[in-house]
Point group: C2
């Protein structure tokens, strides 16, 4: 490994190692998001797809297929598929959350309207579906259709947890599996399966993707209470203001005495929030060791992800996936 | 054919002929729309699915499979699939249109919220996708994924035609193919393909479904200007008030002189509408024979649909499909 590679972040290393394939994924994305008859579609989609997401999910598919020795073409289609599914969920999420910014730019629902975001999201989902059908693998279709259902179910479940202090950790896990881990694990498993990998390798990559996604989302939720100024574009206290019960909150509420419980009921259930409430919430989380516990949970998931890689060939790509997992928790350690 | 059958409407005849299979479709729909972890999902879905839609699309799939001699089980899954796709598009349409009523009941977006409608629609689409994967037919998946893309593309295209007097007939056809005909033709073709029908039969059923859907939608758009009191739950002038360029309007605008053109620009492009404008619009359509021409177009599509059935076995089911097509235009003749 060169000095240059050592100083690159893991996802940049992956992007470099996979550059020729990633270029082809990007070309395919641009071709397939076009619509001759409805020019609104590429306008909306380009706004989001060209905005410089990291292409993390497509890279997971490409890397998994390569790690399993794939020499075909379908992994390019599957990588574009997972990026389309991801983009479709972002468009719908921004409508659901009424978001005004995404990746540092105004959201599509703000620039055009909610209608366009809903319908263009549907279009991208249909395009994703066409692309995966072209891969001629019923098993891959099974993986991705199950992921799509888990994602949608998690999103609806999240709706019903908002302002609900009774939300437990099992429910939280289902929500974040849908929100993040389901597509990560489908991306890695589909890459392995299209490569015809033996079952232990496909299963290992599925578990890697799942644990990576779980760790990634828990870190994200941690940073909402402890990550001021990390430059990830998320504002401290967003989840708090929206009354979303994430892991730090769930853990703090579980330890609450009567007075603290009354505080949580006011700020989360009734969403009656006043200046200083976020700081008080963070102080309560610190008092009960909730943030430390959440950090520990993220580290555990990442350890699970790294351990899963053990059955795969010991190559540079495997090292990069391992370091990618480590990098996820570097933000909180 | 019994006297009783003769007095039943064609879709009721179909429902009777297909009753045991339709029962199994309904059971499958109820099973698959459930979600243990997110109870909001069956609430929203049941509201719409139990509201008494005619199950026209699932019946088209069942009838097509049976007409082609199918003796397996997958047509039940495909019938549920098309109903899920249909329901998902209704949920998203009601958000996009801001509708308050559907099938005589308040819409889901009104009873719950737009968020639930968007996300539960996504969930149903994912469930549809899972169901069709279970049918183990890449060709069926190809048909349905293409239909999903055509539907979404048509919906986005429709957005950009609103208040746009330059909308031509070719664009209108793309819009209504997406809105209605694409799912009709996918429903019939998928039924034939899962039955292993010879290509001419599968193609005939695809063309039947497409032409039936086109005729059906053109009649619907006709009735918006000429169908007061037909009890179909659509109010006279809805499309006019929303500035949607449907076929009667497109044809009238094509014949407009300067003064009429100014009228259309005011009421459609600027949507500056005053009392009496709808009546004046209808008078202009009558003056140019636009409504008669639209009726003629609907009849042509229905004739195409009926003609397509010629290559299929001459059975009671074929007669019912033929009469169903006739019934579509009975509303305007």
């Amino acid at each position: 490994m060169s000095l240059d590679q050592l100083t690159l972040k893991p996802h940049d290393q992956l992007a470099r190692a996979l550059a020729p394939e990633l270029d082809r994924v990007n070309t395919l994305i641009r071709t397939r998001m076009a619509s001759e008859s409805a020019p609104r579609i590429p306008e909306v989609t380009a706004h989001l797809i060209e905005a410089g997401g990291k292409r993390l999910r497509p890279m997971l598919t490409l890397a998994s297929a390569r790690l399993c020795g794939y020499a075909g073409e379908h992994h390019i289609r599957l990588a574009a598929t997972v990026e389309f599914i991801h983009t479709a969920t972002l468009l719908h999420d921004d409508v659901v959350d009424g978001s005004a910014q995404r990746r540092g730019r105004p959201t599509a629902n703000l620039l055009w309207d909610n209608k366009s975001s809903v319908l263009v999201g549907d279009y991208l989902f249909a395009r994703a579906f066409q692309l995966m059908v072209e891969c001629d693998s019923l098993r891959v279709l099974d993986i991705l259709s199950n992921a799509a259902a888990t994602i949608a179910e998690g999103e609806v479940l999240q709706l019903t947890t908002v302002r609900n202090l009774a939300t437990d950790e099992a429910t939280y896990e289902r929500v974040i599996r849908g929100k993040t881990a389901a597509l990560f694990s489908a991306a890695t498993e589909a890459g392995a399966v299209i490569a015809g990998a033996p079952e232990p390798q496909a299963d290992a990559l599925r578990r890697y993707g799942d644990a990576l996604g779980m760790g990634f989302q828990i870190v994200d939720d941690f940073l909402d209470y402890g990550g001021a100024g990390t430059g990830i574009g998320k504002n401290l206290g967003d989840d708090f203001r929206e009354g979303k019960p994430t892991l730090p909150l769930i853990r703090a509420v579980a330890c609450a005495d009567a007075e603290e419980r009354a505080f949580w009921e006011r700020v989360i259930e009734r969403r009656d929030q006043r200046p200083g409430d976020l700081e008080h919430a963070m102080a309560l989380m610190a008092r009960h060791g909730a943030l430390d516990g959440v950090r520990k949970s993220a580290l555990d998931w990442v350890a699970t992800a790294r351990a899963a890689l053990g059955v795969l060939p010991d190559t540079d790509l495997r090292t990069m996936l391992d370091e990618l997992a480590g990098y996820v928790v570097a933000r909180v350690t």
